[in-house]
Amino acid sequence: MLFLLHEALTNFRRHGLMTMAAITTIAVSLALLGGFLLTFYQVSNAARRAVDAFEMRVFCRQEIRKEALPALKQRITALQGVASVRYLSREQIWAEQTKNYPIDTSGIPNQMPDTFVVKLSDARRATALSEEIRNWRESVDSVDLPESEMNSVLRIADFLRNVGMAGAFVLVGGALIVVSNTIRISVFARRREIKIMQLVGATPWFIRFPLLIEGMLHGLLGGALAALCLLGAGHSLGNLVRENVPMLVPYLASVDMLRFGLALALGGALLGAGGSLVSIRRYLRAL
């Protein structure tokens, strides 16, 4: 075991160029893949938050009694898909109106209704919810929902998610192609060595294992390199966002970069090991 590991490590020295090439190629592929996944995650997260930012406004009937309001608030809160409910009294609203539009409101009585501002936890249920609440005729006058904007944003978010998923698949495919090509070539360049080892009586596993470990190490190092790059890039990008476009900050999702990096490195290792296994098999099978 130890000896085979040692083999794999000395192979690094023996095939300097190949090692360098394999590691950097894997690093680039995984960095691109990881970068895309992170971007995709951030974008779809931002889209989700944009949708979440939409509020539904429930306007109560003018004749509603103040005592009935807490019960109504309760009733709305209890509905499925509602995240939070905030009460705005008609006096509050009117005070604000008169402050903002002194000309338009001068000499007019307070026509504003008591209002509940409803934040939704599931934007997709918005229409259904508004329908339901609108049916409470005894207390609710009307429900205001920025339906068309919300639908637009929802559709865009959906679209982005789907396209992003497809893109991720394509990228994974691309990374697989590139990495497997690299490993295949580097095993191909050693087919004579493999042949000699077989002729000397080495079992397939005896040949395969060091190459496997080597491929795994290539993948691991490449993945780690990619993770490092992404960590750095993500950090400085985060800073840039905070400095230049602070209005985007609420839309940022925080990512556990340590975990992500680990996943990337492990993914690389898996990719490398798998790639070697597959490409060695060809040369081992020919007796």
Binding site: M1, L2, F3, L4, N11, R14, H15, E193, I196, M197, Q198, L199, V200, G201, A202, T203, P204, W205, F206, F209, R285, L287
Partner: protein, 274 residues
């Protein structure tokens, strides 16, 4: 970490290695013959007939020369023995393994029964002379301490001790050939197959190498040598199998040798006008 235990780990191959050896050894035939070939033919790519209906029996402990002009099929015959090739037809039993039925995963077991000197040396270019020979031992799962003990001896036999840290690319043709011979000998295999082991050696070194082979033979190894070096063939006076255009044209045992020595060797005599 104690140096002592670290050193031990470094020196021994852990028993976990045994997973790399096939689990159940295949059936071995109980035959006195080391090599039994009957009606074997080899056709490359469906075109070149390299061997035609060759039958042959080499008992264990024999020392056999395989001679013949270039392209006669000597290397092809040897490649059959270590199952680098499968015969197009015919039966072949080597060291008790029926090669026509041997499963692919048992091939390493067969090859561990033999030491092989390839015509193109077949050294691993990224390993030093020492590492090349060590590799052949590690394949058998031998503990490193034992390997370290026996290596100097075999290197000394072929006279390559002084260059043991060189890479094959840094050696002369003859030196590479001697390393290949050392690698084949190091495990004292039951069967030794050598393809042109003295092609790039000067006559003196050739004689030395032939003596090493003879010594191995005396210790019980069956030796099969393909060669053009008729001087050695002549000197050793062993069984000679002559191949020509894929057929065995002569097979002269040790006994018959003395009487028929001259006809075989005519071509090597300096005076021959060709």
């Amino acid at each position: 970490m104690r140096v002592q235990s670290g050193a031990r780990i470094g020196l021994f191959i852990p028993t976990g290695l045994s997973v790399f050896l096939p689990a159940c050894p295949p059936v071995r035939y109980n035959s006195r013959a080391m090599i039994e070939m009957s009606h074997v033919s080899v056709t490359y790519k469906g075109e070149v007939d390299a061997l035609c209906d060759v039958s042959l029996c080499i008992p264990g402990g024999d020392f056999v020369f395989l001679v013949g002009p270039t392209g006669a099929g000597k290397s092809t015959l040897l490649r059959l023995l270590y199952r680098d090739l499968l015969p197009s037809s015919g039966a072949l039993v080597v060291a008790g393994y029926d090669l026509t039925r041997l499963r692919a995963r048992d091939v390493p077991l067969l090859r561990r029964q033999m030491g092989i000197v390839f015509q193109d040396y077949g050294l691993l270019p990224q390993r030093t002379v020492w590492e090349n020979i060590v590799f052949a031992c590690q394949v058998l799962g031998q503990p490193r301490r034992e390997i370290r003990k026996k290596l100097p001896e075999v290197l000394d036999q072929v006279g390559m001790t002084h260059r043991c840290d060189a890479y094959p690319g840094e050696l002369s043709g003859g030196e590479q050939q001697r390393v290949a011979i050392a690698r084949a000998l190091v495990n004292q295999p039951p069967l030794l197959i050598a393809d042109e082991p003295t092609g790039n050696l000067d006559p003196e070194t050739s004689v030395g190498i032939m003596d090493v082979l003879r010594e191995a033979n005396r210790r019980g190894t069956t030796v099969l040598v393909a060669t053009h070096d008729k001087t050695s063939v002549d000197r050793l006076r062993r069984r000679v199998i002559a191949v020509e255009r894929g057929r065995i044209v002569r097979d002269e045992g040790q006994a018959a040798y003395a009487a028929e020595a001259i006809p075989i060797l005519t071509t090597t005599l300096p005076r021959r006008n060709w």
